[in-house]
């Protein structure tokens, strides 16, 4: 597609990168067909092609973001389904990241929106604060309907609603990692921020799986949030700080003991860690180190798939609907490994119709855009229930929470099922069904 940037604008590294992305787009419109918001809203401006076009105009003209442009970019789930569909190789993720940073610089959001986004960025990445927030959410439950009527209150109400699906989780503690005798490999396992509080059982299962296969697991104590949450909220410099911090932490591990992989059990984080090399490409002190970290990042199912895998020890055979998180199938293009692991463990894996469409979770999207998120969840649950599964498996905590709030079928992480099949404990949510 033709572009019209001034030479001075192109001197900026971000702009010149975005210009290259825009030049690859031929405006064919294929992406509209697989975009969740276009499917629901059917407005060009709520499709990837339309958003690309609005971003192009905003960046070319060096215009501050307008409320209309912000509305349509905010409605983007960043599910990246468009990138899987795009024949021209348009890197939408980098373009929309740039647009979000541009919005953060040039547009003042209404106060309730500012407060909400600020709170999400200050709470979610910090396990201590998140635990406290969950307690507040629990006691606020009775007033959520009243809250929903206040400016920005719909989002608060959505948050309280979602938090209720965590109430049965066990208390959390930081996992110590695990050593093994004569290890065949050594990996760092991302603790995650929200996952430490909401899904400790996931990494416990991952550690059992890895050590069972002779892999030593380290969990550096000073590791922080991967930066995905603040990145998608448009806080670019905070995201880069988070990336630099973790690059330092993992580089130290590489230098002291070596790492075969940085294993991630939340695919949303995996997508961003695999992108550290790009995010820090213009930082001379970090570019090389970050590229090395990105090259080491693996989803847990990718890593397990490459191992000589032990056989399962339990009789399985349950019908599992595998829900591929967008960050898994579109962000990381990891498609077959999770399903093949589950099949190898004897589960009957069923593909979900319209499996390429987002469930509406999308990081903080189900808090910020509850109306669209709820419609997508209903659509997803209907499609999942069509294949009549006993269990739903997914590789991303966000999806597990989102889908879990809309169905009575238990939703678990893929590694919990694999671990159980290999002799680990039955996942809590299955205890009530299968125990």
């Amino acid at each position: 597609m033709q572009t019209n940037f001034s030479l001075t604008a192109l001197a900026d590294a971000h702009v010149s990168e975005s210009e290259k992305i825009l030049r690859a787009c031929v405006h064919c419109g294929f992406c509209t067909a697989t975009c969740p918001t276009y499917l629901l809203l059917a407005d060009e401006a709520d499709s990837p092609r339309g958003r690309i076009y609005l971003i192009k105009d905003m960046l070319e003209e060096e215009k501050p973001a307008t409320p209309q442009v912000v509305e349509h970019i905010d409605r983007c789930l960043t599910c990246l389904s468009c990138m899987t569909t795009c024949p021209s190789g348009v890197h939408y993720m980098h373009l929309v990241d740039h647009a979000r940073a541009h919005i953060a610089r040039t547009y003042t959001r209404p106060l309730p929106d500012r407060l909400l986004r600020g709170m999400l960025a200050k709470v979610l990445p910090f396990p201590g604060r998140l635990r406290l927030a969950l307690r507040v959410a629990t006691v606020s439950r009775p007033i959520r309907k009243w809250l929903a009527n206040l400016p920005g209150g719909a989002q608060l109400a959505a948050m309280i609603e979602l938090s209720s699906s965590f109430k049965r989780r066990r208390p959390t503690r930081r996992l110590p990692g695990a050593t093994v005798d004569r290890p065949r490999g050594r990996v760092a396992l991302l603790s995650g921020c929200a996952q430490q509080v909401l899904g400790q059982n996931i990494n416990e299962a991952a550690i059992r799986l890895l050590t069972r296969h002779g892999i030593e697991v380290v969990q550096p104590i000073d590791e922080g949030c991967c930066g995905a949450l603040v990145q998608h909220l448009g806080y670019e410099s905070r995201a880069l700080d988070a990336a630099r911090h973790n690059v330092d932490v993992w580089t130290r591990e590489i230098e002291n003991g070596g790492l075969d992989a940085i294993v991630v059990t939340t695919s949303g984080c995996g997508t961003v860690i695999k992108d550290y090399g790009f995010l820090l490409r213009n930082d001379n002190a970090y570019a090389q180190k970050a590229a090395r970290i990105s090259a080491l990042a693996r989803d847990i199912t990718e890593f397990l798939h490459e191992l000589p895998l032990q056989d399962g020890v339990r009789t399985t055979g349950q019908v599992v609907a595998y829900h591929s998180a967008c960050s898994m199938q579109h962000g990381q293009q990891v498609r077959d490994q999770p399903k093949s692991l589950l099949r190898r463990m004897g589960f009957v894996v069923r593909e979900v119709p319209e499996g390429h469409i987002c469930c509406g979770s999308a990081g903080t999207y189900n808090v910020l855009q509850p109306e669209i998120a709820n419609r997508l969840r209903a659509r997803k649950v209907t499609n999942i229930e069509k294949v009549k599964p006993q269990i739903i498996a997914s590789g991303n905590l966000g999806c597990i929470t989102q889908i879990g709030a809309g169905t009575g079928i238990p939703v678990v992480h893929t590694v919990e099922l694999v671990d159980w099949a290999m002799g680990g404990p039955l996942p809590d949510v299955l205890g009530r069904r299968l125990g």
Partner: protein, 478 residues
């Protein structure tokens, strides 16, 4: 730089913009009325992005009644209307005018009825082509026309352009698979043409509507013929050391009376582009590739393939490879169907859409190379060879104005060549704005006048998709 002209917008209409928008708010749901500059900008072009015009406003109606109300209003107040499906036109068919309202059918995307006994499906016009097949596939049925943009393009747009596709060699194009439409005329009246069965009574107005590029009315519902899928289908790749050999093989297959489901052609440039995207296993050591798909029982496919292989070998085919799995078949078609978009990875392009008699393919392919070289550019050829429907992609740099002029001039020369050898300007993409001024190469004035009379019988004030299809200076003579 750019050669395609637009008419000056009607200043009186532009001056009335606010009151027009105010009136429209009473006619459509607020979520279906778009008026801000930023949001209208998303509608200023289609897949011919070299040309752009901001519309007066955009309406996205949800019902035939809303379409009717908008058209009646526009008719009564003299406002132009540009219909839009998914905006995938390569000929600028959905590009607005500044004094026109864009009427998009994207929100009319419901399936209304499926009837397997009588083998039809009724859908709203904004339903995408591929989703029609998706609805009936689980019962072993499909909708035959399959334009490469079928993932995104709408049935309404397919009807407007009489779209074809790879598999139309055997099953025919849109006009052969459409049973009926509900259409809104410019004065707001709603008419039904055709029915749930083939060949309805009276004048074949349905035939007139197909391919009329939104100038006779706006189709809001369509009844489509669905077909039972064959028991098996198998694409085969034939690689040739020369483009002429591949072109001659196509001509010989057609001349022998063999009708495979599809015969698709790719030259070396297209093969490399598509292989990089789809990893379909296309041979990279050949100058031209034919993808030939046959279907039926195994015995039937074997017999047809034996005949086609003999013809291909006789024309110098060096590679013959059958798809061995469903995954491979899907990759082979994904590569072919994504060819245009995938070309975006290497260059900007203008996609031509001329049709020639299959016996002339080799000659035309050689001439296309010469034409494009003469203009100092490169070309990638990927097209529906069995139908003689050519799609040379003229590669250029859209940020270099001189290259755009050269690409457009080369495109004109190619289309003139198609007409000269007994073919036509457009196979399936429509005339749009792109080929409007070349219509005189295809038709003499008497022909054009007659077409314009038909058009004027439906839309006397010339308000529907006004600046498309016919040369701008020709309207007055009608």
């Amino acid at each position: 730089m750019s050669k395609i002209r637009f008419t000056e917008p009607n200043r009186e209409i532009l001056a009335r913009r606010d009151s027009i928008i105010n009136d429209l708010t009473r006619l459509v749901d607020p979520a279906g009325l778009i008026t801000s500059t930023d949001e209208c900008r998303a509608y200023e072009t289609d897949a011919l992005t070299a040309y752009r015009k901001m519309p007066l406003a955009v309406v996205l109606p949800k019902t035939t009644e809303e379409v009717s109300a908008v058209l009646k209003y526009c008719h009564d107040t003299g406002v132009k209307v540009v219909p839009r499906g998914a905006g995938t036109s390569l000929a600028g068919g959905a590009i607005p005018s500044e004094d026109a309202v864009v009427l998009g059918l994207s929100k009319m995307n419901r399936v209304l009825a499926v009837n397997y006994d009588d083998r039809f499906i009724r859908v709203e016009a904004g339903v995408t082509n591929l989703s029609v097949t998706a609805v009936v596939a689980e019962n072993g049925f499909f909708y035959a026309p399959d334009p490469s943009s079928q993932l995104a393009c709408t049935i309404g747009g397919n009807i407007a352009n009489n779209s074809g596709g790879a598999h139309c060699l055997k099953y025919g194009v849109t006009t052969n698979n459409l049973l009926g439409v509900r259409m809104v005329l410019i004065d707001g009246s709603i008419i039904d043409l055709g029915g749930d069965y083939l060949d309805s009574a009276g004048l074949d107005l349905l035939g007139l509507v197909v391919g009329s590029e939104g100038q006779l009315g706006i189709v809001t519902e369509a009844t489509l013929r669905i077909l039972k899928s064959a028991e098996g289908a198998r694409p085969v790749l034939f690689g040739f050391p020369s483009c002429e050999g591949a072109g001659k093989a196509v001509a010989d297959v057609i001349a022998a009376g063999i009708i495979p489901v599809a015969i698709e052609y790719m030259d070396k440039a297209a093969i490399e582009i598509c292989e990089a995207f789809a990893k379909a296993g296309y041979p990279l050591d050949v100058e031209a590739l034919l993808i030939v798909e046959v279907e039926g029982s195994d015995a039937e496919m074997d017999a047809t393939l034996a005949d086609i292989t003999a013809i291909a070998r006789a024309n110098g085919a060096t590679t013959v490879r059958e798809s061995r799995s469903a995954i491979e078949t899907a990759a082979i078609w994904k590569g072919r169907k994504s060819a245009f978009g995938a070309t975006g990875r290497v260059a900007d392009y203008l996609c031509m859409d001329g049709t020639v008699p299959t016996g002339k393919l080799s000659y035309v392919l050689a001439e296309i190379s010469k034409i494009v070289q003469r203009h100092g550019l490169r070309v990638a050829n990927v097209f529906h060879a069995g139908d003689g429907n050519m799609h040379p992609l003229i590669l250029y740099n859209a940020n270099d104005p001189s290259q755009q002029s050269k690409a457009e001039a080369a495109g004109d020369d190619i289309l003139r060549l198609c007409v000269e050898v007994g073919g036509c300007l457009t196979g399936e993409h429509g005339v749009g704005i792109e080929k409007r001024d070349l219509m005189r190469c295809q038709f003499d004035d008497a022909d054009l006048v007659q077409q314009i009379r038909v058009r004027a019988a439906f839309d006397p004030r010339w308000l529907l998709n006004t600046d498309k299809v016919f040369p701008l200076d020709f309207r007055c003579q009608g």
